[in-house]
């Protein structure tokens, strides 16, 4: 047990009325208490982080604030006044805006249509020109450059997030909630977003940032509210706390933020790629001649901004994407033309980047997911029939060994948290004693506890002699796990270096292809825009927002 004292009320001024107060919020889903008398207090013009492991109840709390979920108990006060929020419409009227964890954009509609939806300019007829003009004005004022006439589905996620932000700004919201906004962003995009947030706060907005990445909390927040299993686990002042302290509050025990790692004992070469080229789904060259080798007992980390061929690299090795030239050797044997199943049988394991689409059959039970890929081999199949005894035994072993929760082999995998789902994938992939593993974004979207567990598992297997190719867009992960770092840029390995002597700055630069300057608005520019627009008068209390819906 740890006791984290609630932080002092309001760093800026102990007596000031908080901009937002949520008191005693309670919400049960069946027997699960997603929020158990949760309190949250956010000062005006503060960047307030809300952290907690996956399933801690962060999204539930924010959905209650936004009126998407109705609490069983508790009250919400804005500027000291109790407010009733029956739905998103009330939340919007109260000046609350939210960028949801999963973007809420209509893909086939234009940026302008998405931004104005629900508060469209015009009478009966939609005034398209005005919508485009207003959105363009807004985007120029805040320096959030995006073409208002572009179809949303054609835009990269970083830009889609700008559209979400524009939606909020269009409604004149004062309190901006971001639910895990950085989960889909590259490091550069994250920096851009933070710059934007600082500017918004300087211009009079208040920001709630949901995250479980401690370095982000440290980088941007003033205070942080920690949730654990649906309850408050402390309010900390960022300036007076440290990542280990936050992690302890989140997890409820000491957490190893640094991965313990011994010297590598390298064995024979297990995986080798020579001049491998492949196309992307759209038929464009994605890999432009990859040369790479991984030895037994070694973790080779592929560092790169996502979209530079990592996905395709993982897939060609796994046998899910044809190569257009080159050779792939698995334990010395050419496998470039082998189907995926044969490669698996020859000792290849694969943790796919998208565990929902590729790693699991979500509606299936845990025990069936734990034998996927081996389901037609003994002992799981005997004379073409399932061998329940062996399947149950395997499930019991792995659930115990990997601490998969809930420990119910019959539960559908879709009912598990992200961390436990990933444990199912990792457990399965390690179960058949592989010789080579490709691990693509093995901890994406996972909380501290699950990340720690999977990192330790990978290190343990590496110490036992597994050859691991680690693909990750998190530089921290690359640096803490890899023995060798290879930087990928536009489908090419631009440099390979031992991680012991690798320099972060240099790796970051190589990832960006040398130098890259992106058109990021300055904080000052955004602050100015926010200040001119931030008055609550712009909120949708006008004639809009009615009109039939």
């Amino acid at each position: 047990m740890t006791a984290v004292a609630p932080g002092p009320r309001g760093r800026l001024d102990g007596a000031a009325t908080p901009h937002l107060e949520m008191r005693g919020i309670t919400k049960a889903f069946g027997s699960l208490l997603a929020n158990d008398h949760v309190n949250l207090e956010v000062q005006d013009r503060e960047i307030h982080a809300v952290v907690g492991e996956n399933g801690a109840g962060k999204t539930t709390l924010m959905n209650i604030l936004y009126g998407l979920i109705h609490p069983d108990e508790g009250e919400i006060l804005i500027d000291g006044q109790p407010v009733r929020i029956r739905g998103p419409r009330d939340a919007i009227a109260a000046g609350i805006g939210m960028v949801h964890q999963h973007f809420q954009l209509v893909p086939v509609m234009s940026v302008a249509e998405n931004v104005v939806l629900g508060q469209e300019p015009g009478g009966i007829v939609l005034d398209r020109a005005a919508a485009v003009r207003q959105v363009r004005d807004l985007s120029e004022r805040f320096g959030l450059i995006v073409d208002p006439t572009a179809r949303v589905e054609t835009l990269p996620v970083g830009i889609q997030q700008r559209v979400e932000l524009l939606k909020i700004l269009y409604r004149g919201s004062r309190l901006l909630v971001f639910d895990e906004p950085t989960a889909v962003l590259t490091p550069q995009e994250t920096d851009e977003l933070f710059e934007i947030l600082r500017g918004l706060v300087a211009g009079g907005k208040t920001v709630i940032l949901i995250t479980h990445k401690l370095n982000e909390v440290m980088a941007i927040s003033e205070r942080v509210t920690v949730l654990r299993q649906g309850r408050n686990a402390g309010v900390l002042e960022t300036a007076r706390t440290s990542p280990p302290e936050i992690a302890r509050a989140m997890v409820g025990r000491e957490v190893l933020l640094r991965v313990e790692r011994d010297e590598a004992h390298l064995g024979e070469e297990r995986l080798r790629l020579e001049g491998v080229t492949a196309d992307s789904d759209r038929g464009l060259p994605a890999l432009a001649g990859i040369d790479l080798a991984v030895r037994a007992g070694e973790i080779v980390g592929i560092a790169g901004v996502s979209g530079n061929g990592q996905l395709e690299l993982a897939e060609v090795i796994a046998g899910l994407r044809p190569i257009t030239a080159g050779h792939i050797y698995l334990q010395g044997k050419e496998v470039g033309a082998q189907p995926a199943a044969e490669r698996r049988a020859n000792g290849l394991a694969y943790i796919p980047e998208d565990r929902h689409a590729r790693g699991l059959v979500l509606p299936f039970e845990i025990k069936d997911n734990l034998i996927l890929g081996s389901q037609s081999r003994p002992p799981f199949a005997v004379r073409g029939q399932r061998n329940s005894a062996a399947i149950d035994q395997r499930a019991e072993d792995l659930i115990h060994q990997f601490d998969i929760r809930p420990p119910n082999p019959e539960a559908p995998v879709s009912s598990l948290s992200g961390g436990n789902q990933q444990k199912v994938v990792v457990a399965r992939e390690l179960a058949e004693d592989p010789k080579v593993m490709v691990a693509a974004e093995p901890t994406r979207g996972l909380d501290v506890g699950a990340t720690e567990f999977i990192h330790q598992e990978l290190i343990r297997k590496r110490d036992e002699g597994l050859a691991i190719l680690l693909i990750s867009s998190e530089l921290d992960e690359i640096f803490s796990l890899s023995d060798t770092i290879a930087v990928i840029y536009q489908g090419r390995i631009v440099e390979v270096m031992p991680s012991a002597t690798a320099d972060r700055e240099r790796v970051g630069l190589l990832m960006a292809g040398g130098t890259v300057e992106s058109a990021v608005p300055t904080a000052a520019q955004i602050a100015e825009a926010a200040a001119t627009l931030g008055s609550p008068g712009v909120t949708g209390d006008g004639p809009h927002g009615e009109g039939g819906a």
């Binding site: 998103p88 209509v106 009109g547 039939g548 819906a549």
Partner: protein, 313 residues
């Protein structure tokens, strides 16, 4: 024989083209309703049943009151009512919308057969019921050929043609239309912006019922001038095909309805010309299948079409 010559002479008949418009009208009304309903995200295969109900009740009320306005209104209303049942099932109860639609079709068939028997068992529907009026356009009526095609068409034919640009304008130019399409593509996104997904969907499903009901009234009051069991004989399904063929766009759906209407009219005009009867009778259906199989390309339904929406608790 000289089949080509016969065909050419048929194509020169104003009857063929006037018939095309006449047959297309009820299809168009139903198809437009389908487009609106599915654009909001509710799959609607119940146009057949809604038309049938409209067809029956218009005749029932017409026989009782001899008032054409009342008769038409009640058919529209009954179409809307049975659509509301589909709405409750697919929106609030989150039932499978194909199953619900099929159930509505069967319910409509059973209900109208039963009531038909109950009210008109021995006599059939009376022949003195009022009809929907034709619109005689003074100058155009006297133009040769053109006059025979459009100079004296039924009011509902004109209404259905008028409804096409109106529906397009409604869906693609109005604020409400934008919301409808947003709800059909991404209901959650619309919900987070304060738009009531349920209200929009009910509105659209009921609208589709009103339109189908009117189409049904036209079939019974004006085309057949009577009601008989299962008299829509698949018109609602042809309208459904037209909606898909037209890619969920009012204009496209209308063009498809014209094509299918043409098929029916051609079938009628081929009768007694020496073409095999069975082939002639099958013409509209063959056209439907060929059109759907061959020329649709990849039709993309609204993303949330048929997916029930659950608001937060």
């Amino acid at each position: 024989m000289d089949a080509i010559g016969t065909l050419v002479s048929i194509f020169a008949r104003p009857d063929l083209w006037a018939g095309t418009l006449r047959f297309a009208a009820p299809l168009t009304l139903a198809a437009l309703g389908g487009v609106i309903s599915e654009r909001s995200g509710v799959v609607n295969i119940a146009m057949e049943g809604m038309m049938l109900v409209g067809a029956f009740f218009s005749v029932l009320v017409a026989a009782a009151t001899h008032d054409i306005v009342l008769a038409t209104l009640s058919s529209v209303l009954c179409g809307g009512l049975i659509a509301a049942v589909h709405g409750v099932a697919s929106i609030h109860l989150r039932a499978n919308q194909i199953v619900s639609g099929m159930a509505i079709n069967l319910l409509a068939l059973g209900l109208t057969s039963f009531l038909m028997f109950r009210f008109f068992a021995t006599t059939g529907t009376p022949s003195d019921i009022p009809a929907l009026p034709d619109v005689k356009i003074p100058v155009i009526y006297d133009i040769p050929f053109v006059g025979a095609v459009i100079g004296d068409q039924n009011l509902v034919v004109w209404l259905s043609i008028l409804a096409v640009p109106l529906a397009w304008w409604f869906l693609f130019r109005t604020r409400l239309g934008l919301r409808i399409r947003a709800v059909g593509e991404h209901p959650r996104a619309a919900d987070t912006l304060g738009i009531s997904v349920y209200r929009i969907r009910y509105l659209c499903v009921i609208l589709s019922g009103l339109l189908s009901g009117l189409g049904g009234a036209y079939l019974s009051l004006s085309v057949a001038h009577s009601f008989s069991d299962n008299m829509t004989s698949g018109a609602g399904f042809i309208a459904l095909a037209a909606m898909i063929f037209g890619k969920w766009n009012p204009i496209g759906a209308f063009l498809a309805c014209l094509l299918f209407g043409f098929g029916q009219s051609l079938g009628i005009n081929l009768q007694g010309t020496g073409f095999p009867d069975q082939l002639v009778a099958a013409t509209p259906y063959v056209l439907t299948v060929v059109a759907l199989a061959g020329f649709v390309g990849r039709a993309v339904a609204p993303a949330a079409d048929g997916v029930p929406y659950e608001v937060g608790e």
